[in-house]
Amino acid sequence: MTDIRYLAPRTLDEAVGAFAASQGAARILAGGTDLLVQMRNGAVRPGTIIDIKKITELTSIEEAADGGFRIGAAVSGAALAEHPRFGRVWPGVLEAVNLIGSTQVQGRASPGGNLCNASPAGDSVPALVAAGAVVTVQGPKGRRQVAVEAVPAGPGRTNLGPGEIVVSFTLPPRPEGSGDAYLRMTPRTEMDIAVVGVGVSLTLRDGVVAAARVGLGAVAPTVLLVADAARALIGSRLDEAAVHAAAAACRAACNPIDDKRGTIAYRTRVAGVLLQRAVAIAAERAGRV
């Protein structure tokens, strides 16, 4: 057994400093619902744990004057659910975040942790991709902003640089006529891993899709932004042909694995089905009659 240093800095600068100084031997602790399990399994043995939950910027939710949201990376699913406005503006993102784990896990697990864990099946990520969320990252070289879909590099790996910490997610202002949805397919309803997850965000003007984004999880080494699916939807009135074309684009984007949870054929097929259903829910939320 080796000793583990535990740090709980109050400022981001301290956290980044300690993280960079550890030269890879430290791990960031948000809710700990992945990290502590990995440590218990012996999968990771960090020399230092840096708890970021004492840093206000990482645990707060702010609604900007323009209607955009900034969510701290360590905000728990439960805290997000309790926010009076967030779930009304981004019901799909909230649904996705709240699908991470059980009620108990919801009190701890955060979207930042879900993103950095870099599981292809992370539930919040496809919805955040669909939402067009931008991630603020801070590291030894300062702050930068990056699209959420650019963070995961592969199963368990991210594109974050040495010493970089995910600070927050920024979700853009929502125009009138917008709606989002997240659906996933698992062998059951909770505490299991998605075999397919689909996030859809739409903005409708006079019944025509003015903007659309589609995020797809669990069917490739990373969560995907499916631009072809969005293109199929934009400009349409969500007629059958457009939705089928979007579903086909989702299926084409799939590059899943065969495992005991689901075969390639099943995951691919269901990705299209979930896309169609998520589009229908998002459209209804966008106010389409």
């Binding site: 057994m1 397919m185 062998p187 309803t189 299991d192 891993i193 054929a265 099943y266 269901v270 089905v273």
Partner: protein, 775 residues
Amino acid sequence: MTKFGIAQPVRRVEDPRLLKGNGAYTDDITLPGTAHGVVLRSPHAAAKLLSIETAAAKAVPGVLAVYTGADLKADGIGDLPCAVTLKNRDGSDQFSPPRPTLAVDAVHHVGTPVAFIVAETTQAARDAAEAVMVEYDILPSITDLATAMDPGAPQVWAGAPRNVCFDWEVGQKDKVEELFAKAAHVTRLTVVNNRIVVSSIEARAAQAEYDSATGRWTLRTNTQGGWGIKEMMGNNIFNVPPDRFRVITPDVGGGFGMKLFLYAEQVLACYAARKLGRPVKWTSERSEAFLSDSAGRDNITLGEIALDKDGKLLALRTRNVANMGGYLSNFAPYIPTMAGTGVLASVYGFQAVYANVIGVFTNTVPVDAYRGAGRPESNYLVERLIDAAAREIGMDRVELRRRNMVTPDAMPYTSPMGKKYDSGDFRIVLDAALKKVDWAGFEARRAAAAKRGRRRGIGLAYYLEATGGAPTERAEIRFAEDGFVDVYVGTQSTGQGHETAYVQLTVDQLGVPGEKVRVKQGDTDSIPVGGGTGGARSLYSEGQAILVTAGTVIEKGRKAASETLEAAPADIVFEAGRFSIAGTDRGVDIIALAAAQRARAAKGEDVTTLDAAEIANIDAHTFPNGCHIAEVEIDPETGTLELVRYSVTDDVGKAVNPMIVRGQVHGGVAQGFGQAVLERTAYDPESGQLLSGSFMDYTMPRADDLPSIDVDFIEVPCRSNPLGVKGAGEAGAVGSPPAVVNAIVDALSPLGITHVDMPATPERLWQAVATARAA
């Protein structure tokens, strides 16, 4: 009617204790000076054990000992026994491989115990386990039952060609052939009865201490009856008289058959306690439970039924391939053979039945009894076959069943499998079940679901269970110093509510207040013999023992009262807990009488006390039966399934406590639904690793997977015991898998689908739909 009377839905008296955390399970008990054991297990499915190097492990601070199979052999420790030896069809004996407590020269499944490390703390033992160096010669493994008998499949045991443990048969082979030859129709179906990981909430545990002065062990361990453990420890393992073992079973959190057996870790705790002169404790982790608790089911069965032109069932023929695992657990060969085939004729008037059962070794966790133990498998096969036959011959599935049911006027009825059914009114139960769910109105519900894009189906299963177990049971009634009536029983509750049901029976017999009755169980020193709990035997077996013992108490009380009241014994009447002189108001309360007699006896007076112990012969077992009806809705685009309605109509004879019976049936239905839809045990075909080795990967049923389950009773009293009761503990798990799968097939049958194997996961259902649509 008193609060604790028979047939009252008395709330379980054990629940406040257990729910408030005041129960004491094996792991809750830590004796002073306890050392902690950890089992090092084989990471390979099949390997030769070349060497074990323990020096580094022994050097880890806090480590007291590291034991290997060689150490146990050197100390003369016997192998874990299999109590059953079947005769093959050719008259030879089954192949019975050795099962050392710790592997000696080979391992036969991932999880085989290889070394036992004992240390001051569990953590130190775990650290030391990592320091044990084991050299393996890894061999090809076979975990797939379907191909285990193929030529060229890896051999689990050199002495078992084609991995066959036994090839056993029962039934009227020639008559069956005759009936098949003249049948108007034959239906054939192969079904998979999937392997189940039992997953009791409380993991297995053992804590042993050894008294060198007396040469006796005290083993605290969660069992379904400590007496069998005691016998095997003495006779098979340590070669000492079994009475050198005191086995104490504390509170138990679920057994389902799995905790009936003797396990390596119980032996290891006893062995180490003697070697070290300290109490030694071992508690399973969940991941260990997946690799070491006996598993359930795991059969592939071909069933064939012959029908005449009027839809009369003539004969049934089966060929069942049953997975034994890498070693033989205590009763493993018995489960698919004697236990399972006994109910193959079920409630139907087959003229003849023949069963061939082939036990097969694979490099998997050993299989043994699991809730129902063979009877769920047989019922599943028969109820699936009858649905399939009905579809094939174009007869209504209810009508086909009704037409073939054994009628009450035939009772007692001896089935072609030699089982004597004492009672049963199957058509009455069937009709009540159909009426309750509006079976006739189902097509409207199917159509309504179709409008929502869902395929709805309804399925029924009529099950017949044959309870079983030890042929005697003991009860002892003692009037304690503190005014309580203690009832010592030879069964063992693992959560069934025995502490309540036995109180009800005692109150009914002795007329004492229920609050004054305590049930005592689980100590082989204070209870010399016991049959334990398994095979749904407890209520009718222990119930009869309580009845006989209470009769002796009353006879002794009558004699005592005649002495006290100075009247002839014949003039003493016993009613409502009071002995009195007939026709007078002179009398004495039974508890007061017992206390007075005990006080006089303590002073040396020669008086009759009321305490009594009796052993009852359990001459006949019982045949609970009933009708389960399931309604499911399937999303054909994703294959997800919802169980939308579940209804049970049971004949469990007289229900002593209907609330407890309902709880038992609910739990059984949930387990059966889990098997039918969720629980998939997956091994990697290359490495033999258990892929579904945690609750992340092995899908247990949860409350939100199930609808509210209605359970109603039609009481057809059992005629083979004076209580009129039939064992209800397993029944829910017997009826539910076929009811659920029949509903699934009904939902998909418009697509031409005629069978779906368990577990009917979303992927499997989606695949079935996709294949049918492509055809």
